[in-house]
C-alpha cells in the first residue's frame, strides 16, 4: 500500500508537470503567433482591397451601357470591402493554424 501510494504520487507528479509544460507551451505559442498573424492578415487585407477596388473599377469603366457602368461603380466599395474581409479571415486563420501547430 505504501509502495502504491508512492508510485501513484510519482506518476501524478510526472503527468501533472508534463501537462503543465504542454499547456504553457501552447499558450506561449498562441500569444507569439497572434500579433504576427494579425499583422500578416492586415497586410493581406490592404493588398487585396487595393487589387479588388482597382480591378472592379477598371471593369466598371469598360462597360459601355451608362446605367450599368454607374450601378457597377456604386458597388465597388462594398464589393472590395467584403472581398478583402474574406482575405483577412483566410490569411489570419491559415497563419494561426500553421503557426500554433509548429
Amino acid at each position: 500500500m505504501k509502495i502504491f501510494s508512492k508510485l501513484s504520487f510519482k506518476s501524478f507528479a510526472v503527468f501533472g508537470t508534463a501537462a503543465l509544460l504542454a499547456s504553457s507551451a501552447y499558450a506561449l505559442s498562441w500569444y507569439d503567433c497572434q500579433p504576427i498573424c494579425q499583422q500578416n492578415a492586415t497586410n493581406a487585407y490592404n493588398q487585396s482591397y487595393t487589387y479588388y477596388a482597382t480591378q472592379q473599377t477598371n471593369y466598371c469603366n469598360s462597360l459601355t451601357d451608362p446605367s450599368a457602368k454607374s450601378a457597377c461603380l456604386a458597388g465597388v466599395q462594398a464589393y472590395a470591402t467584403q472581398q478583402a474581409t474574406n482575405v483577412y479571415n483566410q490569411a489570419y486563420n491559415g497563419c494561426m493554424n500553421s503557426c500554433s501547430h509548429v
Binding site: 493588398q47 454607374s70 450601378a71 461603380l73 462594398a78 464589393y79 472581398q83 486563420n93
Partner: protein
C-alpha cells in the same frame, strides 16, 4: 407525456435535416459542380451575404448578393460569387479575367454581364498552386458564361 417528449426529439432532428436538404440559394447556384471540383471546392461550405449599396447621384440604391465557398478542412483557397442586379437588361458581355499574386497568396477575378446582372467570381489561394487554380477558374468561367456557348 412520453409521446410529447418523443415528438419534440423527432422535430429537433428533422428541422436541421430539412435545412440541410434545402438547395443553396442563389448566387451559389450560378456555378456548377464541374467548376467547384476543378477548384478543389466540391465539398465546400457556402455562406451567403447581402450588402446594401446606397444610392449615388448616378445610380439608385442597390444590393450585392454574395456567396462564398470555403473548404470544410484547411484554409487553402476560397471562391466567391458576387451578383449585382442591373435595373435594365444589357447585352451579354465577354468574360474578362485578371489576377494578381502577392508574396503569400494569389488573387484572381473574372467579370461578366449575365442575365441582367454583373457577375464577379473571385478566387483567393495560397501562392503554391495558384497558377493551376487560376487556369481552372478562367477556363470554367468562360465555359459557363461566354455568350452563345
Amino acid at each position: 407525456m412520453r409521446h410529447t417528449v418523443l415528438a419534440v426529439m423527432l422535430a429537433s432532428c428533422l428541422v436541421p435535416m430539412a435545412a440541410h436538404a434545402a438547395p443553396a440559394p442563389a448566387p451559389c447556384d450560378l456555378l456548377d459542380q464541374q467548376m467547384l471540383t476543378a477548384l478543389n471546392l466540391a465539398d465546400a461550405a457556402t455562406k451567403v451575404e447581402h450588402k446594401a449599396i446606397a444610392a449615388t447621384a448616378q445610380a439608385p440604391a442597390n444590393r450585392l448578393d454574395m456567396c462564398t465557398f470555403t473548404p470544410r478542412v484547411g484554409t487553402g483557397s476560397s471562391l466567391s460569387v458576387m451578383r449585382l442586379p442591373l435595373a435594365k437588361k444589357v447585352p451579354p458581355g465577354k468574360p474578362i479575367c485578371t489576377d494578381n499574386s502577392a508574396e503569400k497568396f494569389g488573387l484572381a477575378t473574372c467579370n461578366v454581364t449575365f442575365k441582367d446582372s454583373i457577375l464577379t467570381v473571385s478566387l483567393v489561394s495560397r501562392r503554391a498552386g495558384f497558377e493551376t487554380l487560376n487556369a481552372a477558374l478562367r477556363s470554367n468561367f468562360e465555359r459557363l458564361f461566354t455568350p452563345g456557348r
